[in-house]
Subunit: 354 residues, 2 copies
């Protein structure tokens, strides 16, 4: 730290991304990426002409990308905000609606970036404990008159609320923003995009990083009322108007249009997830009922940290969170069939040591 | 605006990017882009494998890109911070070192984004008027004990301070950050990167958008002491750890390594700039002595706003700022030979009407 950093950031603890190791070739089941490549359309559109035109600025209005997203969801361009990953979108949302002394309410166990944003933007964070079975108690959020963010499916549990439950939360807090982070929605959960027609205080965020195989492209978006999108654009144009590069705009538009390709990839992931859950149970795991592209599980013999470390030695990365309440669990990304079989046989070997 | 936006942003006036029109084909001399395509190496590296690997997250540490930049400048990776355009880099710098009640001092006429950042991050802005000839009075910044940002060359004037003048400013404000924004440095100005070895309160920012023909890729960077870079990383990891996509990292590293290509492009731009200045004088312009890839000029008959509008009708975009002190001037990006000839003949035609 330099002596120039403003004191208000002294206590800030940044987010810790999943390990991105390249000292050897790993089976990477630690950051919920897709095992499948992006749509072939992505390669088609990243042609010579697009690359030559990188000499010109990208479109700050992101028209092509917004139109493709709007069409996919049956909305208008004015209902779409795009960011450099959904982290960017959520950061702008918390800054706009909760920053400088506002409030934000979320579960105590959820995407660990939310508290960091609150600290960075000086929003007061209120955490509601999950129930003992790691489900969200909907009553904790009914009529509380506070801004709310809920990941649905939640991370790292993979558990979901129904659209009806979310509607109760949104409807009972009409003077506050409710953000539903649907990063993992395409793996079998019902989206609450349909609620946008009825509620002007709802923001739904999604990402290209998981179900659209484009984590490395950095694309996320928010869907909301025109007025909310205008607010987000105001923040964006005061921070970084050209926030998505031309390759991102072009490839993102092509990707979202190729729905058939991604539906098939996601269908495979869901099938492999369910199959893997059975295999995991057979080899001593207790798994939460994840509706996502990861499985949150604890082994009946191997302590979670040991499991994480021993798998890493064997070239398999999973995520271990050394945090209260979840330190006995690991989060395993659902890879392809081969990756999951390698994972299960590695665990079986490790289990013999315990 | 929604009723949910925090009141602290009520007075925020976002930055206005240059027009990005596509209703017809324009000669685009309004946003200081390069007329030349990126290095051929950029196309080579954006291959099929890189695109397939977009399914994985980009490297949040940006090692390949930082190493290429460090090598170019004879620095270490720890001295380099990379952002999603230099706007991102400057935003993080102002947030880190001036946010929440700190101070920042800059010329009254300069890159118009600096005041917006101050407003967004609640930093107090102190503006020092340029002299009547639009030069910066170095004495305004000597020993003032405040954080300072200076664009060198300055925008939209194109005028420069020498490295000796900048050193006086940096040396006389040892307890404050001095940011030198070198977006336009490669068009004939001496960089002050050499001062980094001596001064721990200096941040030099540069961009890939102008002299490296990659405006659409969104890449910028800061060079500074290890401690300052650590601070910027702390903010980045609390905001958006994966802030540059894989295509940006890959293409940026290839571009900065191809120095010969860009030196030749920039040599052409400088030669065309000087030739254009002579042509402009011949057709009634008074030009500032720009050391950048744009020319700031006023015509002896045609009012600036008229000139801007009439050129737009003819399919040529230049930048007009309707602001005190500079409302008689226009800013013209230095394009290629053909673009500048088209510009000069269009102006000659327009001049006949006045």
């Amino acid at each position: 730290m330099s002596r120039f950093l403003r004191e208000c950031y002294d206590s800030l603890v940044p987010y810790t991304p999943g390990e991105q190791l390249n000292d050897k070739k790993y089976i990477k089941l630690n950051t919920n990426e897709s095992p499948y490549p992006p749509s072939p359309k992505v390669k088609e559109v990243l042609s010579g002409e697009v690359i030559d035109n990188l000499k010109l600025y990208s479109d700050p209005e992101l028209k092509a990308l917004k139109d493709a997203i709007a069409e996919h969801f049956g909305l208008k361009r004015e209902n779409v905000f795009c960011g450099n990953g959904s982290d960017d979108v959520i950061a702008f949302s918390i800054m706009a609606f909760c920053g400088n002394g506002g409030e934000l309410c979320c579960p105590d166990i959820t995407y660990s970036f939310y508290p960091v944003y609150c600290d960075l933007f000086k929003a007061n964070l209120i955490q509601k404990p999950l129930k003992d079975d790691f489900t969200i108690d909907v009553n904790d959020y009914i009529g509380i008159n506070k801004n709310i963010i809920i990941a649905n499916p939640n991370a790292p549990t993979g558990l979901v609320l129904t659209v009806d439950e979310i509607e109760k939360i949104v409807a009972s807090n009409p003077d506050n923003i409710v953000i539903i982070d649907e990063a993992y929605v395409d793996f079998c959960t019902e989206t609450c995009v349909g609620l946008l027609k009825k509620y002007k205080n709802l923001i739904v965020t999604q990402t290209f990083s998981k179900s659209r195989s484009l984590a490395g492209l950095r694309l996320g978006f928010a869907l909301a009322s025109e007025e909310i999108i205008e607010d987000l654009e105001k923040i964006k144009y005061s921070f970084n108007p050209y926030n998505i590069n031309t390759l991102g705009v072009t490839a993102g538009a092509a990707a979202i249009a190729d729905d058939d390709y991604y539906r098939e990839c996601n269908r495979k992931t869901v099938a492999i997830r369910e199959k893997t859950k059975l295999m995991l149970k057979d080899c001593g795991f207790e798994c939460l009922d994840s509706q996502s592209n990861f499985i949150f599980a604890k082994h009946n013999k191997i302590p979670a940290e040991q499991l994480y470390l021993k798998l890493k030695e064997k070239g398999i990365l999973i995520r271990y969170f050394n945090k209260p309440r979840i330190s006995e669990y690991v989060r395993i990304t659902v890879g392809d069939d081969w990756q999951m079989e390698e994972f299960v046989s590695a665990v079986s070997l490790i289990a013999k040591e315990f």
